[in-house]
Amino acid sequence: MTNLLRVLARHLIQGVLTLLGITVLSFLLGHIAPGDPAYAILGSDGVTVPTEEQVQVVRESLGLDRSVVEQYFLWLGQLFRGNIGVSFMTNRLIEQELLARIPVTVQLSLLAITFLVLTSLPLGLFLALHKDSLLDHLFLGLTSLFSAVPGFLVALVLILIFAEGLRLLPTSGLNGPTSLILPALAISLGSMTQITRVLRAELLAAFGTEYFQSARAKGFPFRFAAVKHALPNAMSSVLTLWGNYFIAILGGSAVAESIFALPGLGQWVLKSINSHDYPAIQAYVLVMGVLCLMIFLVVDLLQLAIQPRLRRAS
């Protein structure tokens, strides 16, 4: 138990450090952005031609006259109070925008990773059990092809087949859960082949181990031994991959949201870029960083659950 706590504490410290790093990155993004935020804020208040004095007052209130390091800590302090900022574009609080849009992106990404897990797991197991079958060779051939197809092309092909050809699924906008199916497929299909290949390879390696032979020596059928003895050992690297691809999926959600016109974070940040709404971009990076850290934490916890060696090692 103490081991478990120690491992968790280490992850927590790493997580906090990474989070701080991401706030620095996000702050610097705002800092290198062109234009003076004071003008932007005055502009959004309806002051189109501000006087020097007006600008000076706003600059001081924003802390823009201080050093970069001071500005960072001021900004960080604001963040801790839950004050991410005001969107230049809509004049709405960014928190409100985020709260409206995070669920869309999170749902989309969760659906995509669920799809990824539910396909790669059985498929990898099936291919490992039927090594060198026709399907196996076909799949391995397809893997390298798929890795060179970007998500947006997959999306276009899916739209062509399922939405315009078969007229089965909606292609744009958010109207009920079916709207998320095609975008989720688009951002997970390419990684599906990669993960399946890794799971297959890990399983084949596990089939060659001595503990697997020992399981067979107990009279367990191959399939049973494969699921009970090989699979848990093959899972650890696949779990890491799932985590990494989950993060790639979060990034890819911006592309899917743009193609399928989903009102998520990605679509919002792309709009914000068009209107030079820099606080929105900063907020986007922060939210993504937090989401990714949560994914890392879940992956680490799952690793502890499936790998007694990590849990028990002192």
């Binding site: 001595e210 503990y211 020992s214 020596a217 009279g219 367990f220 059928p221 050992n233 060696r309 028990r312």
Partner: protein, 310 residues
């Protein structure tokens, strides 16, 4: 005279490798009598472990076996996967080499010991710990070891745990592959005692080992494998009193108690198909006809030796 439990007749096993065919077992014919300990001795690469794996039906995919191995009259070579699954564990027990890597690191020892009984004998899950504790006690480990994982055990403990795993379904025949490899003297003695206890309970044991001293201590019957061939087979007393094959003589002379005299020369290549006696290149008595020697002779009842001298 007891009946043979395992009978081998002209067993040949070769491997299809990227470097061509490799010959692991050549023309082995011998019997394992029930309720005895048969020590199969030889150096690494002699084919002894492969022979054990063949009896378990656990040869790798690139292996090709011919001849006949019967267990209680049942022909083993050519069994289907399903038929193998019926007899493995229940009739044939296996204790693999390298206990550290033969115990799955994701399960506790008690699960590994009892899982065969749970899935195949339908003992109840809640009896798992008691079941494992009984077997652990039998091999001289504290019952609490069951709650550990393999990587938490020392080499000697892991070896004994692996034996507990192998006897989980109480199989009549046990194949132990190098059970004393790399152990310190104290653990060595415990394993030896455990083997003798198992033999005393009436298990038939095939003990695969490179350790001639262990064979002398526990075995009833000695098989000597060299260069994929069975060069000598004899009751223990006869073997240690008068080893007949020149290789056997060399093996005994190399024992620490007998002066540690090494055998000059090198072992034959795995990739050269053995014709005749495999020891011919290192044998002080070799003659041309040794290259042609196909069949062993039987100088006395219950003994066979692959040598023209006898």
């Amino acid at each position: 005279m007891t009946t043979p439990l395992v009978a081998m007749h002209d067993v040949n096993i070769r491997f299809n490798t990227t470097r061509g065919w490799g010959y692991a077992v050549t023309a082995v014919s011998a019997d394992v009598r029930a309720n005895t300990v048969t020590a199969i001795i030889g150096e690494s690469g002699s084919g002894k472990s492969v022979l054990g794996a063949a009896v378990m039906g656990l040869l790798p995919n690139n292996a090709e076996a011919s001849g006949s191995i019967t267990y209680a009259g049942l022909e083993l070579l050519g069994l289907t996967d399903r038929e193998w699954d019926q007899i493995r564990g229940i009739e044939l027990g296996w204790v693999a080499q390298n206990p550290a890597s033969s115990l799955n690191p994701v399960y506790r020892i008690d699960e590994l010991i009892s899982e065969a009984a749970i899935h195949r004998r339908r003992i109840r899950r809640r009896d798992k710990r008691r079941f494992a504790a009984d077997l652990l006690t039998k091999v001289g480990l504290p019952a609490a070891t069951g709650r550990n994982y393999s990587f938490e055990l020392s080499g000697g403990m892991a070896q004994r745990a692996l034996i507990a795993v192998g006897i989980g379904l109480d199989p009549p025949l046990l194949i132990l592959d190098e059970p004393t490899k790399g152990l310190d003297p104290a653990n060595y003695d415990r394993i030896r005692d455990a083997i003798m206890d198992l033999a005393g309970e009436g298990h038939t044991i095939m003990l695969i080992t490179h350790d001639v001293t262990l064979a002398e201590q526990v075995a009833d019957e000695i098989w000597v494998l060299y260069g994929s061939r069975l060069v000598e087979q004899a009751p223990k007393q006869d073997f240690f009193a008068t080893p007949l094959h020149p290789y056997s003589q060399g093996l005994l002379a190399a024992m620490p108690s007998r002066g540690l005299h090494p055998i000059p020369g090198e072992s034959p290549s795995f990739f050269v198909p053995p014709e005749g006696c495999p020891f011919v290149d290192r044998c002080p008595y070799a003659v041309a006809a040794c290259h042609e020697l196909k069949t062993p002779s039987h100088p006395t009842e219950g003994r066979s030796v692959l040598c023209l001298l006898h």
